[in-house]
């Protein structure tokens, strides 16, 4: 059991390592939506790709991109390290990955993390519109 927990923690570590790109994948109404937040000193963007369609891209202020990446990070921590005691399984609600790291799955059984992720997607949708 201990080994399992350790390996799980290590798998998260790469993804949380000072990200400048966050990728959020969620399936809504049967269509996969992929949001990407990229932040660097010269150009920060949010993009949304729905299914096979061309991505919508919006340039945003680097501070805003940083804020969104921070929120994605908080949801990831909530999901990975504060699971409800009664969470036995994981039905995927959303996937969040940082840079090229392994994605973290936000499970529907973790209703607190899912609730925050739900509000977060709404904010991303508003931002990319």
């Amino acid at each position: 059991m201990k080994i399992l927990i350790v390996s799980f923690l290590l798998s998260i570590s790469a993804s949380c390592y000072g990200a400048s790109v966050a990728t959020i994948k969620i399936k809504q109404s049967g269509v996969e939506q992929v949001f990407q937040i990229k932040q660097d000193k010269t150009k920060s963007i949010i993009s949304l790709k729905m299914g096979k369609e061309k991505a919508k891209i919006k340039k945003v202020h680097p501070n805003f991109a940083s804020e969104l990446i921070s929120e994605a990070n908080q949801i990831t921590w909530q999901s990975a390290y504060r699971k409800p005691a009664n969470q036995k399984k994981c039905s995927e609600y959303m996937q969040i990955s940082f840079d090229r790291g392994k994605p973290e799955t936000i499970c529907q059984e973790n209703r607190r993390a899912t609730a925050r992720a739900y509000g977060f997607v709404n904010k991303l949708n508003q931002s990319v519109r």
Binding site: S13, H61, N73, Q74, W77, R82, R112
Partner: protein, 625 residues
């Protein structure tokens, strides 16, 4: 092909919205007649926002109630107090928009405000003022050692105070501290290997080599959040790991200790004079002062938002808030209104199925499956769903949360109230979900009308009819009927071909299910509106279309032509589907087709006998398709 489709769609769209003169005939252009005023502009320009504002007010009033229970004047005062207690003093008065965005009472319309943090938190705007004296003094050319040393000491004191504040800030947001403050610096060091073990970066290099163990320490402390031991451990952790003083971009200064070294060749380097070292130190602090407040502001803004979010979750999930919010949105009156529409829509659609589905077995399967379709309603959680919160009041218990295979939380109060901004209650939408089995869990087919839609019911119950019938109609859509075990794609073949035609809405691929749901809804409206006195029918039909006008006002679908949405454009939905339904046209007294859209319908679906008929007043018929 795509260009051709877009072109045809554009023509249809132009036709649909061009007839904007006064007194538009609903038979000719239902969208303009329902949504546009005599000036050709939307009759409901603010309706979408007004609806959202109403929802926000319900939430805000409920939070005020809970705050009063906890001994505060209102929620604003409670939130400010919580922020202040955690080290985040809110400016008085706070910037109205930034404050509303923080509480989730306003969205980001108008764009992100890069000065939002400065407008909200006093310490962010004070940061630059505090560093002003450092920037204003220059040690260049100064010869008085005591003076320069005094300036260095003063600057260091200023930074020490700010760093102490920074430690307090980061201790409230450990995940951000590890990821951004340490992780980003380590990433930069890694991407610049020449600096990784750089002479002037020994501490940073060491920390970064040990990053994984630092992160795991952070996880351990993160799990303590909410316990009495958290704060002390978090502050100590941040203090031990704050890399604010470390430089991953080299600077040309140096501490006295560094200046008594030898070069690689073993030559003794001349020791720098004390004055030169003091001046170098001052230069280093000046350089630091130029970027310090950006990082400080970012950390404070993000930690402040986290503290606010955590507090809002606590207030949102308290029994007082839950009771007040559910009492307003999910009132008994709203339940009666919507349940009766759902029940009537199910029954009338079952009747339609008898008309147009020839296969008896399939027909019976559909009719039976409608009997078991649920209408999702969020009931008040029982006492057992609550636990005692840290302030002594009852809050929803996470361990009693209901997992729902749906992102909308329609059946899960814990989820709906655990989003700090309570987005579920301010989203204007409705949905249908087929039966789904996930592992051992199975979820019943159901329709749900989201709360924000429910509050519009009092003002105009007609528009709920079209929305609810659309969702109930999804159950027998082309793809969904296949999923539900009674494939009706053959039954819709002719109808869909009609919608694809040049004289109709130029139906795009992937829009079949939404279009059929609209069509079923239009058939339902034909039956319901046909029950009204003749002189009330046209107005009832226009009122039924109001929801489409709200979305138009939102500027979401109407302002850009989009061939890829699962829903056709609103004007096409209203004029080309509802306005072109032969039965609906008949009950409101329209004769023949409109000049813009050919009528499309399933000829086997018959209207109940209409006792009265509106006088004929339209162009000669072009015949039913």
């Amino acid at each position: 092909m795509k260009f051709y489709q877009t072109f045809l769609l554009l023509i249809a769209f132009q036709f649909s919205i061009s007839a904007q003169a006064a007194n538009i005939d609903a038979c000719e252009n239902l969208f303009s007649a329902s949504c546009l005023g005599s000036d050709g502009k939307n009759k409901f320009p603010n309706k979408f926002q007004e609806n959202k504002d109403l929802s926000v007010k319900i939430i805000s009033d409920a939070r005020d109630k809970t705050a009063r229970d906890l001994g505060f004047k209102n929620f604003d005062e409670a939130l400010k107090t919580e922020l202040k207690n955690k080290g985040f003093e809110v400016k008085e008065p706070p910037d109205e928009k930034a404050w509303k965005v923080l509480k989730g009472e306003a969205d980001l319309s108008g764009g992100y405000d890069m000065n939002e943090g400065k407008k909200l938190f006093a310490d962010i705007s004070n940061c630059e003022d505090k560093l002003g004296p450092i920037k204003n003094y220059s040690s260049y050319g100064k010869t008085d050692l005591a003076e320069v040393q005094k300036q260095v000491a003063q600057a260091e004191k200023i930074f020490k105070d700010l760093d102490n504040k920074l430690i307090q800030i980061y201790s409230k947001n450990i995940s951000d501290f590890v990821t951004k403050q340490i992780g980003d610096k380590c990433r930069n060091l890694k991407s610049n290997p020449e600096n990784y073990n750089a002479y002037d970066n020994p501490e940073a290099a060491l920390k970064c080599k040990d990053f994984e163990s630092i992160r795991q320490q952070a996880v351990r402390i993160f799990r303590l959040e909410g316990t009495p031991e958290y704060q002390e451990q978090a502050e100590k952790f941040v203090k031990d790991n704050l890399l604010g003083e470390l430089k991953y971009s080299s600077y040309s200064g140096g501490t006295p200790a560094q200046n008594v070294s030898t070069s690689a060749g073993g030559l003794i380097l001349p020791q720098k004079s004390e004055l030169e070292m003091a001046r170098n130190n001052y230069d280093r602090l000046t350089k630091k002062s130029y970027s310090y407040c950006n990082g400080f502001g970012r950390a404070m803004n993000e930690a402040g938002k986290k503290v606010a979010d955590d507090f809002m979750i606590e207030i949102n999930t308290s029994k007082t808030t839950v009771d007040a919010v559910l009492g307003s949105f999910y009132s008994e009156e709203n339940r009666k209104t919507t349940e009766s529409i759902v029940s009537s829509a199910k029954s009338e659609i079952q009747g339609m199925v008898k008309d147009f589905v020839g296969d008896r077995e399939k027909r019976n399967k559909i009719i039976n499956s409608y009997d078991s379709m649920k209408y999702q309603w969020m009931d008040l959680p029982s006492e057992s769903f609550y636990k005692k919160g840290p302030r002594g009041n009852l809050i929803l218990d996470e361990n009693k949360a209901i997992t729902s295979f749906n992102s909308s939380f329609a059946s899960d109060p814990f989820g709906a109230f655990s989003d700090p901004k309570m987005t579920f209650f301010t989203t204007l939408n409705a949905n249908y979900m087929p039966s789904i089995e996930v592992g051992a869990l199975s979820f019943e087919k159901r329709v749900a009308i989201m709360p924000s839609f429910l509050i519009g019911a009092k003002e105009n119950p007609f528009y709920l009819q079209s929305v609810i019938a659309h969702e109930v109609g999804h159950h027998i859509g082309p793809k969904l009927s296949r999923l539900n075990g009674f494939d009706l794609s053959g039954e819709y073949k002719e109808l869909l071909a009609c919608y694809k035609g040049n004289k109709s809405i130029h139906l795009q691929t992937k829009q079949d299910d939404e279009t059929i749901a609209d069509y079923i809804s239009s058939e339902y409206l034909a039956i319901e509106i046909g029950k009204l006195p003749v002189d009330q029918r046209e107005q009832a039909l226009k009122s039924s279309m109001e929801a489409f006008c709200h979305f138009d006002a939102m500027g979401n679908q109407m302002q850009s032509l989009n061939c890829t949405e699962s829903h056709p454009e609103n004007s096409l939905r209203v004029s080309g589907i509802y306005g072109a339904n032969p039965n609906l046209r008949k009950v409101v007294g329209c004769e023949g087709d409109s000049s813009q859209f050919a009528s499309c319908g399933i000829k086997d679906i018959k209207l109940p006998k209409i006792s009265e008929k509106k006088p004929s007043r339209n162009k000669p018929s072009r015949g039913r398709q």
